[in-house]
Symmetry: D2
Subunit: 148 residues, 4 copies
């Protein structure tokens, strides 16, 4: 992908996470609120990190893990309840202390793209409050979560 | 500003919106969840649009108004309850059917930057489901909400 | 059931709604926030109302439908992500202009009760802002949604 | 108060907490979602507990504190953004291991009651996962937070 302004395809993604839209996810405009798209991506990210061996227990135990440094999201379509969605993720560029997690939300089982974006995550030592080197064991899994 | 990766200063912003962090805004990591930063920006944006004559009533009455097309946000600092914040906004580039709304969140009355970003808004006809020309009356106010 | 302080059993309920807990449903105490239990019940209630012919379209079209007058909820167990739950509902007492919707949340496929309660709903004319008679067609379905 | 079905008055409450309604607190029906009323009460409760010496640090440090066992809430009026509210609290009955926290939400500076209810809190040892005796120092403050 690289350029997340490009419209992604399903085949760009290697990890998938299902989301069921809740009625309460809608706002006063009668569609899913734009902050909720990012909660859906968060849900998928937590699942992805579990897959690469860095689930909530690892995070709590080591007080170390990926923290969101920045994110960009392109809203492509409104979503109205009821709906089921799938969030696709794939690891983009991996740097020393940070990596890109590219995402796209599709309607379940379709090519209908609801939105897509990128999240930059820094591997952070929560106690020290600063970014540290991504563990080698994680680094290899980030690139290939599907085989983990 | 232009380049939102640059660290903004308070003097870059012309419209301010206060936010009181709620205990419930925090997530299981014990800090304000990253989707909430965008709810704070949304709150400010609704206030800003009211100021330029496009409040919730105008939106409902005309079924026309700005819809979020994309957003980018840079998380600079964690926020832990209790805290009070200020969201600064300023209109960036204004195009035919869309404009940029640059934002930054500071701790109240300080230069401590919590995060900043940019939201691209398309002037949308909700019934037609497509972007339309920004009304001229709005266009001039976007550039100078402080004088509205 | 009648007395909602009594611990309910799965067999008390005639309508079921699945809920997948999201990581973001947890609060700073590291468990699902107590307001979210009520969002899960809301999700089930919306599904139940759809079943009895009063889905979101009917509500919007008629500007009439059930509004929450009061609710009581007993928190029985903490829930920590990841978890899947099932909300059971059954209509309790039906009055002229209001009815009780009894609810219980179980861990999926088990008798582990997470919480239970009751919601009083008044059939409301949103335009007039007051309770009106429950439509006869709805009244019979409320008692037996499983057969709808 | 005692009977929380009775309509309370401002003079019933000894502790007050301000809440600014956010646009995003509204749901697809265009009013503040009913789960949010309980988040407002939660916000007030956290402030109240801080006042009686059991703030978030005490909770985290001792792994002990009040947990919500049940709550009842009566929705009296819709709330539409923009609005500012005040949550009034007062401690009701205090038992060995639990107490009642009665609440009411008013529009700021008015007698307009938006809703009211009661929360039962059990003093809980989070590690042991069971209710324990309310500390004596807390017990006396619960009855008179205004003088703390």
């Amino acid at each position: 992908m690289g350029d997340h302004r490009r419209v992604p395809a399903r085949t760009d993604f290697t990890f998938w996470w299902p989301v069921t839209v809740r009625w309460g996810d809608m706002d006063a405009l009668g569609h899913v609120n734009n902050t909720l798209y990012l909660q859906y991506v968060e849900s998928a990210r937590v699942g992805f990190l579990e897959r690469v061996g860095w689930g909530v227990e690892a995070f709590a135990a080591t007080r170390q893990g990926p923290a969101v440094v920045s994110q960009t999201f392109h809203y492509r379509r409104q979503v109205v309840y009821p709906a089921t969605l799938e969030v696709g993720l794939r690891c983009g560029e991996i740097r020393h202390r940070s990596f890109d997690l590219e995402c796209a939300i599709f309607r379940t089982g379709t090519d209908i793209l609801v939105g897509n974006g990128n999240t930059v995550l820094a591997w952070t030592d929560l106690s020290a409050g600063r970014a540290v080197e991504i563990p080698a064991a994680v680094r290899s899994l980030l690139a290939a979560p599907g085989t983990a």
